[in-house]
């Protein structure tokens, strides 16, 4: 397998087959919180993609150039969290400056990306699978793409379901969770697509 197609398989595998949200069930709280309107979902997915890719690369650099040579693997989680927090704060300032409406609409969910388990999850998985630099970057970007794809689809779905005549006890996030469940049911069909 020439490395080129191997990376492609890794990318497709991360985006579709073991999707970070619907198969690995990481990053569910922003997934449920921000998916009320399509516009906000697009804004949030752009911010998360930026953060996730950057922190995947950053955590690889920290892990292989600082922690490993000094033998401090046990500090891995704290170091990653610091890096992610820095990246998120940086993104928050950029978004606040460029589009204040998006900043206000995302509200609490922008700083919450720091606690988004998908971000830390990707960093730790990268280390666990001993991905090299390029692989961890692709894995980070792929996971972010997967998260964005599913988030935007879910936002469009929720906008349609909000208009539906849902029974009283199921309205709001209850029907949202059921829809997310059915979505992961559909994603099960893609298992085994990539033998990774």
């Amino acid at each position: 397998m020439p490395p080129m197609s191997e990376y492609l398989l890794l990318f497709i595998g991360t985006v579709f087959v073991n999707n970070i949200v619907l198969v690995k069930f990481l990053g569910l709280c922003p997934f449920m919180g921000v998916s009320r309107k399509i516009e906000t979902a697009i804004g949030m997915s752009a911010a998360t993609t930026f953060v996730l890719t950057l922190s995947a690369i950053l955590s690889y650099i920290i892990n292989s150039w600082i922690l490993a040579p000094l033998g401090l693997e046990f500090l891995r989680t704290i170091a990653f969290i610091i890096a992610i927090a820095a990246v998120v704060n940086f993104t928050e300032m950029v978004v606040h400056k460029t589009s204040p409406l998006l900043y206000n609409v995302l509200g609490i969910f922008l700083p919450l990306i720091t606690t988004n388990c998908a971000v830390l999850g990707v960093a730790l998985i990268n280390v666990q699978d001993q991905n090299n630099f390029l692989q961890s970057a692709i894995y980070g970007f792929g996971a972010a793409l997967g998260f964005s794809l599913v988030l935007i689809l879910f936002a469009a779905l929720r906008e349609r379901v909000n208009v539906a005549d849902v029974p009283k006890p199921f309205q709001g996030s209850a029907i949202g969770l059921i829809t997310a469940g059915l979505m992961s049911l559909a994603f099960m069909g893609l298992t085994g697509l990539v033998k990774v």
Partner: protein, 548 residues
């Protein structure tokens, strides 16, 4: 037919039910006992009555007018005594009442003196003013004041004048009868319009299910001196009579979304209005009568009548031989066609400028209450028929959810309420009512927003004014103080720090002392004053013992 016809998207092929009301041709309606003339029979600002109860009015006399540009005055349709000016049921979807002038007809039908002044040398503006004074409105159903529309068209310049004789809605045949009987007046009306608007060419669109009307108009045109005027027979498909759809069929152009036909140099006018213009300019006769069709399966013999405005519908139904099944309760009265008309609350409502057809249907043929309607299954049959190329199912969900922002995003205000979508919907959803409700909801929201913007401007202006006033007071006080400084410089500058409370206390103490030193008026008295005081004290003591 020299021009190439175009097709508009969607539309419905429905049975036109027009034969029934055409058999008996045009008949003259008799005068009713009472004429009920609503003050507002047009789109625009309402009129104010110029007559009062008890006045005698003649036929064609002006009885209500308004100062605003977008309005159309109301004239008496026949001579008689004004018996009442009050709220009467009027033809309106709400079934509510509105201010009407009620005239008890005296049967003499005396008209005011018509001054038939020559109109050849009148300029466009004077013609428009004569049309405005005659109270002429679009008789196709829009009832927009024609004078205002002509003025607007004149400013923007008109390339093509389109005369709408399509009359695409089922059951309605009033334009068809008009074209067959008054072809000459239609053509002279077109001539006047051409002389006002000076268009390059004129097209008269008539649906091909009215061959008699097409032939009679063509004959009239050949006899007239008109040039660049052409009758075009267009395919029969509902709603080809809609202004935007007729423009697309005849010229292939599309009126831009939120704009009017003027903006692309087109002017659309109904054939009925042309006849009204001719009568106004040539015989100086105001809009006091119009042709009304009476159709439907609930009436004895349907037909077309030239009716005086203000005639109650019940009088018209008697003329047509009354209801088939004579309990009025089971009838469903609709003013206008089955696709775009509205149901009437009772048959006491009068005929107004906008009533082209009274449809009398038995209850069971047209459901009165919608009954149960299934949910939308997104089959998109409505998208196939929508002439405005919209997404009716999306508009339905957003209207149901009262999501005004998304409704406007899906172009709700481009919907012409033609009813095609609701007619083909397999779930029988009353789509047009959802859209009309959502439109009025958005209109009230817009008015509220306009009002709140004005309120904010006035509030901010008031804040500035008060601030300015405060600054000016400060300024004036400072100037006065400086002036005092200049006048008597020796008064030490009041800047010395005097505790205001302390100063007040000293002033009070000083005042008390001066009061104590003052002579009281009971000290150094002359002997007689002393003697008078004793006598007074004695009387007072006596009065005190005496009542005991």
């Amino acid at each position: 037919m020299s021009i190439k016809l175009h097709k508009f998207h969607g539309g419905l092929h429905t049975e036109d039910h027009k034969k029934g009301s055409l058999i008996s041709g045009l008949q003259q309606a008799t005068l009713p006992a009472q004429l009920i003339l609503p003050l507002k029979q047009h789109i625009g600002d309402s009129n104010k009555p110029l007559v009062s109860v008890g006045d005698r009015v003649l036929r064609g006399q002006l009885i209500a007018d308004s100062s605003s540009a977008i309005s159309a005055p109301v004239h008496a349709s026949s001579s008689g005594i004004v018996s009442e000016i009050g709220a009467r049921p009027v033809p309106h979807p709400s079934g509510q009442s509105d201010l009407c002038i009620v005239i008890d007809v005296d049967g003499k039908d005396e008209s005011i003196k018509q001054k038939t002044s020559p109109i050849e040398n009148l300029s466009g503006a004077e013609l428009i003013d004569k049309i405005q004074r005659a109270g002429i409105v679009g008789l196709g159903g829009a009832v927009f004041p024609t004078a205002a529309k002509l003025a607007r068209g004149n400013d923007l310049g008109i390339k093509t004048l389109i005369i709408n004789g399509a009359e695409c809605e089922p059951y309605i045949t009033c334009d068809d009868t008009l074209m067959q009987n008054y072809a000459a007046e239609v053509v002279s009306g077109i001539a006047y319009l051409q002389c006002i608007l000076k268009p390059e060419n004129t097209l008269i669109g008539i649906e091909d299910n009215k061959p008699a009307a097409i032939k009679s108009i063509q004959l009239a045109i050949e006899k007239s001196p008109l040039s660049q005027t052409e009758v075009v027979s267009i395919p029969t498909i509902y709603p080809s009579g809609g202004e935007k759809q007729l423009i697309k069929i005849l010229t292939g152009k599309e009126v831009p979304a939120s704009k009017l036909a003027f903006d692309i140099g087109l002017f659309c006018q109904n054939v009925g209005t042309c006849v009204a213009i001719t009568r106004a300019l040539e015989h100086d006769q105001a809009l006091i009568s119009r042709i009304v069709t009476l159709s439907g399966n609930g009436i004895q013999n349907p037909g077309n009548w030239e009716v005086w405005l203000g005639t109650p519908v019940s009088h018209l139904i008697e003329l047509a031989g009354g209801y088939k099944i004579n309990q009025a309760k089971s009838q469903h009265l609709v003013m206008g066609g089955p696709m775009m008309g509205f149901s009437l609350s009772s048959d006491a409502v009068p005929i107004v400028k906008a009533s082209n057809n009274i449809l009398v249907m038995q209850q069971q043929t047209i459901p009165l209450t919608p009954g149960y309607h299934d949910e939308c299954v997104r089959c998109a049959k409505c998208v196939e028929v929508c002439p405005a190329q919209l997404l009716p199912q999306q508009l339905y969900w957003q209207a149901r959810a009262k999501n005004h922002e998304r409704s406007e995003e899906y172009h709700l205000f481009d919907c012409i309420e033609c009813g095609c979508c609701a007619a083909v919907c397999p779930s029988q959803i009353p789509l047009v009512q959802y859209y009309r409700a959502e439109k009025s909801e958005i209109r009230t929201a817009r008015q509220a927003h306009f009002k709140s913007d004005r309120a904010r401007l006035r509030f901010e202006f008031r804040e500035q004014r008060l601030l300015l006033k405060k600054q000016q007071d400060e300024e004036r006080r400072r100037l006065k103080r400086e002036a005092l400084q200049k006048k008597n410089p020796k008064i030490p500058d009041r800047k010395v720090e005097v505790d205001p409370v302390q100063a007040a206390l000293e002033r009070v103490k000083a005042r008390k002392q001066t009061q104590a030193a003052e002579p009281r008026n009971t000290t150094n008295l002359t002997p007689e004053q002393q003697q008078q005081i004793e006598e007074a004290d004695a009387r007072r003591r006596a009065a005190r013992e005496q009542p005991k």
